[in-house]
């Protein structure tokens, strides 16, 4: 069974540019989560999508946005990139949101560098 896949693996952008990151969840998983992990820091929750809807959003500015497609894959868009957006962006998926079925499986991440 394929795990969570993310693309691209690495990305270099300049300030002010826009970027789109992509995530394919594990087959059968309907929930997708996005996290930002700056170097040496913890996981900062960005967005949660389930069944095509945005369920929750972390404390990030509106230039961070995303969507989930009917096949449950997801995109994260970041507009007007700033230097501090340089980080590892992790996507995770889960097969449910019940009290037990909410384990998250992470992809390898996209390493974004903003110059």
């Amino acid at each position: 069974e394929a795990g969570v896949t993310q693309s691209p693996t690495h990305l270099i952008k300049t300030r002010g540019q826009q970027v789109t990151l992509r995530c394919s969840p594990i087959s059968g998983h309907t929930s997708v989560y996005w996290y930002q992990q700056a170097l040496g820091l913890g996981l900062q929750f960005l967005l949660w999508y389930d069944e095509g809807e945005e369920r929750n959003r972390g404390n990030f500015p509106p230039r961070f946005s995303g969507r989930q497609f009917p096949n449950y894959s997801s995109e994260l868009n970041v507009n007007a990139l700033e230097l501090e957006d340089s980080a590892l962006y992790l996507c995770a998926s889960s097969d449910g949101t019940s009290d037990v079925k909410n384990i998250q499986y992470f992809g390898a991440g996209t390493r974004l560098s903003v110059l």
């Binding site: 913890g42 996981l43 992790l90 949101t97 009290d99 909410n102 992809g107």
Partner: protein, 108 residues
Amino acid sequence: GQQVMQIPQYQHVQEGEDFTTYCNSSTTLSNIQWYKQRPGGHPVFLIQLVKSGEVKKQKRLTFQFGEAKKNSSLHITATQTTDVGTYFCAGYTGKLIFGQGTTLQVKP
């Protein structure tokens, strides 16, 4: 809002020493999960605890869930260099909230 606090932030141990990381939630949890992130890697699910007072073991790792379902601990006995990484707890109450993680360094 709901918070999950994890201590310590960093821990350096000599190989063979024990290691413990602690997790505390501001609210009662439905379950608690533990993840490990190796250097340069991504978080990988280790275990989920659901019941009050639950204790689970995975080889040298012992996981506990408090009686009040608001705290948890991960204890590693006789650390090895392969234990290096960051250990995250994550508490669930309708959404999963990650702690800040404890980064473990093991000196051979």
